[in-house]
Amino acid sequence: MANVALRNVRKAYPNGFEAIKGIEFEVDDGRFCVLVGPSGCGKSTLLRMVAGLETVTSGEIDIGGRIVNQIEPADRDIAMVFQNYALYPHMSVYNNMAYGLRNRGMPKDEIDGRVREAARILELAALLDRKPGQLSGGQRQRVAMGRAIVRQPKVFLFDEPLSNLDAKLRIAMRVEIRKLQRRLNTTSIYVTHDQLEAMTLADILVVMNGGQVEQIGNPLDIYQKPATTFVATFIGAPPMNLMPMRYASLGLPDGTDGVIGVRPEDLEVANDGAAEGSIAFELTVAAIEHVGAETYVYGMRPQQGDADTISAKPGEPPPGEILVRVPGQEAPAIGEKIRVLAPRQKLHVFVDGGRKRIEL
C-alpha cells in the first residue's frame, strides 16, 4: 500500500517534442485516480512513466516514499493492465497469473494459493487450464486483472483496459473494477479517454490536455466547477454549450471579454417570460435526437456575429449552436422558434481565452 506522487514530471523526446510538460499531483494510499483526456494528451505516456516503461526526462516519480525514476519496472512494485491485455498466448490462464510470481522465486504453494484466490474473486476458477485464445474478451480482461492482483502490488496501473470490450460489457467490467479496487484497497491509476468511465470510477480525476494538467479534483466538483473551457466541454455528455460573453449582462465589470457556458441539462424551455435571475434566449430548432428517457434539441441562435470567435474543436458544438436537454419524449418541431432559460447559478464564466474560471 502506498501513495504515489508526481513532482514536476517532464518528458521530452530526442526530436524535441515535449509530451509531458511538468505534471504534479499526488494520489493518496488506496485512492482511485483517473487520468482522462483526448487522444494524444500524454495520459498513456504519463502512466507508462509511472510503470517504468518510459524514461523520465526530469522531475520525480515517488511510489510509497521511494523515488523510482531509475528503478526497473519489475522492482517498482506495480502491476499493469494493458489495453490489449498482453496475455502470454502460449500459457494457460493459471500460468499467465503465476508467471510473474515464479520469476520472483516465490514458493510453489504460495503461488498456487494466490492464483486460486484471484481466480475465485474473478470467477475464473473453471478456466484456469484454458489458453487466452479460447477465452472471450471479458474473460481475457479478467485474466489480465488476475495477473495484476496476484502480485499484491503497491499500485495498480490501468491503461484503457476496457476499450476493447463492447459497450455492455464495458459497463459491467467498470463496476467490477471499482468493486475490486475498493475491496483490495490498492492505490490505482487508471487511464481512459472516456469521460463517463472517468466520472464513475475516480476518487480523484486528473483532466489532461496537451501534456498538461487542466484540472485535478473530485469528479463532481470538476463537473460542477470546471476550471477551463476545455474541461467544461470534455467532462459531461453531451458537452457544455459555450457562448460569447455579451449575451449576458451578469453584473461583471464592463469590458470583460470571455465565454459563458451552460450545460444542456441546465437549460429549460419556457415560452412565457423570464424568471428572476435567469438569462433567456431565442433558438430556432435545427435538429432533434430522441434517446428515450430524454430528448436533445439542437437550436441555432439567431445572431451569429461574434459567436464565430469561439472555435469549434472536435466534439464541441459548432458556434452558434445550442444543445438543450429536454426530459421525456416531447419536443418542439424542427424549424420552430423556442425560448430557453438558463438559471444564473448554473452559468459558468471563463475569461483569459477560456483558461480561467470566475465565480459569479
Binding site: 510503470a51 519496472p73 519489475a74 506495480i78 498466448p89
Partner: protein, 282 residues
C-alpha cells in the same frame, strides 16, 4: 467459394491427376528399377512392374556396399547426410533467431547497419563465395570434418529475415508485460518468444533440412574421406563408374533412400509446417 456442379470439377481433377503422374512417374520408375537385377536394366528393357530382387538390392546398398566396386554402404552415407542436414538446419535456426532477436528487440548503435549487412548476404550464396570460404575452412583445419561441412553453411539471411518479420508482429505490450513480471531479456526469449516461434521454427526446419540434405558442391569440396560421404555425392559416384557396368539397381535404391528422410521430415512436421506458414494471429 462453394460451387455445386456435377461435372464442373472434372477438368481440374484431370489437370491435377496429370500433374501427379508427371511428378510421380519417375519416382515410381526409380522404385521399380531398384527391385530388378542389374542385368535386366542393362538389357535396356526396363519393366514397369516390380521385380524380385528388392531385399537383396537394398541389403547390398545399405549394409554391405556393392560387390563390384569398393563403395561405402549407403547406410553410412545417410548418417553423414543426416548429421550435416540436421546440423545446418539447427545451426541456421539458432543463429538467425538470435540475430533477429537482437535486431528487433534491442536498440544499439548500427543496428540497422547490422541488419542490412546480413540482408546483403542474400546475394552471396555459397557458390559465389566458394573460394574464400574454402580457404577459411582449410586454414581453420576444418576439411574432412563435420564442422567444416556444417559451419560455413549456417549463416542465413533468409531465416533471419523471416524471424525478424515474425518478431515485429509480436505486440510490444507482451515485452512490457514480461518486464513488469520480472522477466529479463534471456527469460523473455526462452519463456515467451521461443514458444511463440515454434511453428515458424518447424516450418524453417523442414525447408532447411531439405536444403542441407541436398547439398552437393560444398560436401564435394570439403570431404575426401570415403566414410564421410553424403548420400547425394554417393549417388553420383555410384553412377560414374569406370571400366564396369553402372549398377543401376543400386543407384536407384540409393536415390530412393535419399528421398526418404526429407519425405519423413515433411510428413512428420506437416501440420506445424503449414501452420507456421499461414498462421497470422498470435
Amino acid at each position: 467459394m462453394i460451387e455445386h456442379r456435377r461435372f464442373g470439377n472434372l477438368l481440374p481433377h484431370l489437370v491435377l491427376l496429370a500433374g501427379v503422374v508427371v511428378v510421380a512417374f519417375p519416382v515410381y520408375l526409380a522404385i521399380i528399377a531398384s527391385t530388378h537385377d542389374n542385368s535386366v536394366i542393362a538389357n535396356g528393357q526396363m519393366p514397369l512392374y516390380p521385380g524380385s530382387h528388392a531385399l537383396e538390392t537394398y541389403w547390398h546398398t545399405i549394409v554391405s556396399g556393392t560387390q563390384k566396386t569398393t563403395r561405402q554402404p549407403v547406410g553410412g552415407m545417410m548418417v553423414s547426410s543426416f548429421i550435416m542436414a540436421v546440423g545446418i538446419a539447427v545451426g541456421k535456426i539458432a543463429i538467425s533467431i538470435i540475430s533477429a532477436y537482437a535486431i528487433v528487440f534491442f536498440s544499439f548503435p548500427f543496428r540497422m547497419t547490422a541488419f542490412w549487412i546480413i540482408f546483403v548476404t542474400l546475394m552471396l550464396p555459397v557458390e559465389v563465395r566458394i573460394y574464400p570460404t574454402y580457404k577459411i575452412a582449410s586454414d581453420l583445419h576444418m576439411l574432412d570434418s563435420y564442422s567444416g561441412l556444417i559451419l560455413p553453411l549456417i549463416a542465413s539471411a533468409t531465416a533471419t529475415l523471416l524471424f525478424r518479420q515474425f518478431f515485429m508482429t509480436v505486440p510490444k505490450e507482451l515485452v512490457e508485460a514480461s518486464k513488469i513480471d520480472g522477466a529479463g531479456p534471456i527469460r523473455f526469449f526462452f519463456d515467451t518468444l521461443l514458444p511463440l516461434s515454434v511453428t515458424n521454427i518447424a516450418a524453417l526446419f523442414v525447408i532447411l533440412f531439405i536444403y542441407g540434405w541436398n547439398q552437393y558442391l560444398w560436401p564435394l569440396l570439403i570431404t575426401t574421406r570415403d566414410d564421410m560421404q553424403t548420400i547425394v555425392i554417393g549417388i553420383k559416384k555410384i553412377i560414374d563408374v569406370h571400366d564396369a557396368l553402372t549398377e543401376w539397381s543400386v543407384a536407384m535404391a540409393t536415390a530412393v533412400l535419399a528421398m526418404l528422410p526429407p519425405v519423413a521430415v515433411v510428413v512428420l512436421m506437416q501440420r506445424l509446417f503449414v501452420k507456421g506458414l499461414i498462421e497470422t494471429e498470435k
